[in-house]
Amino acid sequence: MANKIGRVPVREQDPKVRATNFEEVCYGYDAQEAQLEASRCLHCKNPRCVAACPVSVKIPEFIALVKDGDFAGAAAKIAEDSSLPAVCGRVCPQETQCEGSCILGVKGESVAIGKLERFVADWNRENKSASAPAFVSNGHKVAIVGSGPAGLACASDLAKLGYEVTVFEALHKAGGVLEYGIPEFRLPKEKVVASEIASVKDLGVKFETNVIIGRTVTIDQLMDREGFEAVFVGTGAGLPRFMGIPGENFNGVFSANEFLTRNNLMKAYRPDYLTPIHAGKKVCVVGGGNVAMDAARTALRLGAEVTIVYRRTEVELPARKEEVHHAKEEGIEFAMLTNPVEILGDDKGWVRAIKCIRMELGEPDASGRRSPVEIPGSEFEIETETVIMALGTSPNPLIAKTTAGLETSRRGCLVADEAGATTRPGIFAGGDAVSGAATVILAMGAGRRAAAAIDAYLQSK
């Protein structure tokens, strides 16, 4: 009987209303909805969802606890494998991971695993009574470089093992991409990010913001002068890419990183903050990932008409399905099979239009996706005031440049093994700094594996 019901819909802000504010789009399940949705799980003997989760959250087990109304128990079950459930429940690409493997999804709709995870994490945050056990040091100091998902996960695990952990952050606020990259309407900063960081602090982890490792102090100084016995580098992939086409330096062309950092970290959307931001009336966002969706929906909320320009088709969009769906609901236009070849400026040096060329899909490339091929002679112009480039990011070379013995790949990523050990003993790395731009959950998984490797390394010393 229970399995006959469809996926319980989740309440969301009305698209017309939310297009004008920065509050969270999705309200999430309440207890009753969550228990009903949890009742849909078949509790497969061989749960494919667990195998498809990069950190192997015990999904059927936590869902069973939700069904029984034991939300604290469910939270504890998730916490065995994930350190940031309130974040992952919101930003994981569930459709290609857990939910994409759910047996119910073969004929109908998969269990809303992400929404259930989010419900449990939010419930736990609002209802948790017991504070973390008092920190007992094991006498070893570990430095974490970067306070994004990889660093936070690594720091939590090490602190639980008794390590004295200090997280160094270059910006003025901890959280990394959770703070500067993902917008408020998808991941609330105070309610979710700040409280996740507060719980890491409760474990005994120290945070030092405004410290740029490689400039303010080097890794060698941390190890030689400040007594850190191991270092984890989770510096992410923060350098924006541009297309290298003519006109990219006209005024009004921004990286998605700049646009999003101004609005998220620097709160440009709030009138009480001084940060300026420029969207204008018409914005084109180039790219098809989550960052492109985030930039487009941010520009929309700042009052612009927005078009996403993508060189493949909707099927190949790398963004989460939910974000594409939300973007469309909110009125974002999509120009598919379209690629910019030049940005055109006016006589004052401001963007006036982008010159694009139509594309068609050719043979599959190395990634298995059909690669876009230009249709000769199909150039046309799209009038626009602002162009936002969301073409992906690369790791910052600063740490590799200022630390002897750290090797990087040709793509500028740090070389590290599966456990996170780099080419220099005592220095570990994980997340986007090693993999190149990927997801929060993969970074978190890498941080956790590195924590285990750091523990093994220091215990054997």
Partner: protein, 278 residues
Amino acid sequence: MLTPTICKMEVEAPRLAAAALPGQFLIVRADEKGERVPLTISDYDAAKGTVTIVTQKIGASSADIISYEPGEAFADVVGPLGIASEFTEMPAEQLAQQRYVFIAGGVGTAPVYPQAKWLHEHGVAVDVIIGAKTKDLLIYVDQMREACDNLYICTDDGSEGFHGLVTALLEKLVAEGKEYTQAVAIGPMIMMKFATLTAKKLQLPIIVSLNTLMVDGTGMCGACRVTVGGKTRFACVEGPEFDGYEVDFDEAMRRQRQYVAEETEARENHVCRIGRGK
């Protein structure tokens, strides 16, 4: 206050002071709601654990920075950022053969000081030209005199020193027989552009320090992109100092004004936050 609109501040930041070198910059955020403002480091004292910054009141953010009184603390100070001046890495032999001339314009005089001082302390020949609109806007005159071999002053209105622009004074010095191997210009973008044109005419290599827009200062945002030698460079991590001959100054000046409309609006609507929410 060095002038009615230019303020010098010593900021306690021990790690930053210990790591700072001439040519680098830092970022200050006055309070929770302020911008991240990049400022070139004007002096540093590792023993005292302090760095010196000099700010001119331009917009709402610089006005907020200047409003701080001794003993108060900024919300955030981070650095040092950018690559240090080329000479800090130069082999001693090569350095000994150099004869530097610095061209300092307005508030850009302050970041010239640690560079001149460093060279002077290392026994390298250093002359400094300071230019300002008028006598009252000259800063760092006495300190600079101690940090170089010859100090030359010029004002647009002739109220002190040479009557004319820094470029005319540089030409005059060279015409009188001064021989330099390297010029360094720091000041308003327009002044660096013309200093570069003059240096080119004199066949003198010139380095300029670009004060572009920035958000993070660590290579993340790309707001600071400049075209140098036909290639896009990030001033925050690949600069701030570049070969003046290669810089596209017209583009740099245009890009610097990217948020002028928004900032004018902010200034007009800016409510002075006295007490700053404390």
